[in-house]
Symmetry: C2
């Protein structure tokens, strides 16, 4: 019998179609051919990108030159532009405003062939810290309300450049999904006086069937009502609504679990394309008792794409308990 499951924050129902049950080996992803050719993100080509806004690792003071370990530059083809005023206005019953915002590229490594999931821990920490610094910096710009940090890995997930990178978009509005999480978790908080994500973590640790891995500060789990096979969330165990306020100790633990989670995913489905999105509180927000920052990692398995995103209604052939089992066993199986 298939099962219908409700996301406790969004209220979204998902069908878990066990009868269509799939094993990780049913998802075979072709390795993407190496394209070669000129790469604007490689060291030596710093002048080919817009002028950097952040760089870590140089032992000299010359910007836009080699020697960096992580480098953040404005996107050369931005979806939003940084200069101008919002000029909110109506068009009859419609609302619009100028597309003001920042669109930046976080170049995750100087080495063209490095894979995000295989970076050493101290390097991963730099990337996570760069996300923090950019959010802190963009928070000063009163025009922006949210910074959306995300990564498209693999062509099927929307990556257009081979060189390992993530992106951020600073927005003058809240993305719909973040807004729904904020209101959904507030409704729960008003009723229970507890954070729904804290309750989820508590229950997941107790049940221990959807936990992929954990360390002292973080937990990775497959959510109760996942949209796709192998969807994973990484959450801090201690309540916090603001990613950019996490301590260095916490970032170190996050780097460890992020790498471990992605390695487990790759061990289950080699080369699987995925997107991750950081969900954190809006800019210049008070700390929120009802919201809990986290990363959502969503593998792109086209075999299950379809009308789903048009209706908000998802059919997932793999129960998250099974996905968690495969993910837990994956590294052990390989070694």
């Amino acid at each position: 019998m298939p099962e219908l499951r409700k996301d406790p924050v969004l209220g979204r129902w998902i069908i878990i179609a066990k009868e269509r049950g799939k094993r990780p080996t049913d998802f075979v992803i072709a390795e993407e051919p190496v394209l070669g050719g000129f790469c604007p993100l490689c060291p030596g080509n710093e002048k080919m990108t817009p002028s950097e806004v952040l760089a870590y690792g140089r032992e000299h003071d010359h910007g836009n030159s080699p020697g960096w370990k992580v480098r953040v530059v404005p996107n050369k083809y931005p979806a939003l532009v940084i200069e101008g005023e919002l000029e909110r206005e109506a068009e009859g019953l419609y609302d619009k405003m100028n597309g003001i915002g920042a669109h930046e590229v976080i170049i995750e490594s100087p080495r063209h062939d490095d894979s995000f999931a295989e970076l050493p821990s101290e390097h991963m920490i730099l990337i996570l810290k760069a996300f923090q610094h950019r959010i802190q910096d963009l928070e000063h710009d009163e025009r922006f309300r949210y910074v959306l940090v995300f990564k498209n890995y693999g062509k099927a997930a929307g990556a257009s450049l081979e060189h390992s990178h993530s992106q951020l978009v600073a927005l003058p509005v809240l993305p719909r999904k973040i807004y729904s999480e904020l209101t959904g978790s507030l409704t729960y908080y008003k009723y229970k006086e507890r954070c729904v994500y804290c309750d989820i973590i508590h229950q997941e640790l107790k049940q221990d069937v959807r936990v992929v891995c954990r360390n002292d500060h973080f937990i990775t789990l497959t959510p109760f009502a996942p949209r796709t096979p192998f969807e994973m969330w990484i959450l801090p165990i201690k309540h916090s609504s603001a990613y950019h306020q996490q301590s260095d100790e916490q970032l170190t633990a996050l780097a460890q679990i992020f790498t471990e989670s992605l390695c487990r995913l790759d061990a289950c489905i080699p080369n699987v394309p995925y997107n991750f999105v950081l969900h954190t509180q809006p800019l210049r927000s008070e700390n929120l008792s009802h919201f809990h920052w986290h990363f959502e990692i969503v593998p792109k398995l086209t075999s299950i794409a379809g009308f789903e995103w048009g209706s908000g209604f998802y059919i997932n052939p793999m129960p998250p308990e099974e996905a968690a089992m495969y993910l837990r066993e994956s590294l052990e199986r390989i070694s």
Copy 2:
């Protein structure tokens, strides 16, 4: 300057990135190879599908045999099963229920190679009528709250069989997106005492920049805040919340505009894969003054897929005014 636009019903913001402006010819879709081989949906193979629930066009009384023009059968690999009770229950803070529902396939033509957009008008009417009859029938089952009618056209949009078909899923819950439309349009109604979709139609007819085509009963437009290039909505001009209550005269007009809209889309981007989803009122609902049934047609242009559906935040490189212009001119250009 890019532009941010808000969907007046859902409150979802979209970036229209004009600078990334694309023309229809930038989207080149490879024609899908004809697979051939055995087709369970073809006449003569009626015994290979579960027993039919509806068939039009036979001149004899023998079910599950050739002679039909449109045939509806249960999906052989259903996402939900028809028999059983819902048995709603909690799992700690989570909610779940049995995956009870109907999952049916509407076989749109006996001819294997027929294309949905090229069917003659009287045949198209039969398909639209089959949607109505199935909704009317499933409405009697008290376990169900919504019937989701949709089509996946082309492999990239999720179609797994070549033979032209659409699908329906009867659900014991409301899909998230329909729920958001019902609440969003109700909020507008409470404030204005008018249907937001009626207001949209009124404004679109007046402005005449996003209208693709119209006839006496229907209008096709590109929405103000579209998620993808060439997204189209087909709406009845006269207010109605219930698709299954439309008269035969209205279905005839709908058949005409549906075919015309898809032909215009195909003339712009030959072979483009798409999904369409019917948005109508919940089962056994009173007629709703605030909600307006419609079809949403969303082309699947993978070049713009990415993190969007994970964040609910869309970047669309083509303003709907331009898309409407291309769609309006497309058939004239070809003939």
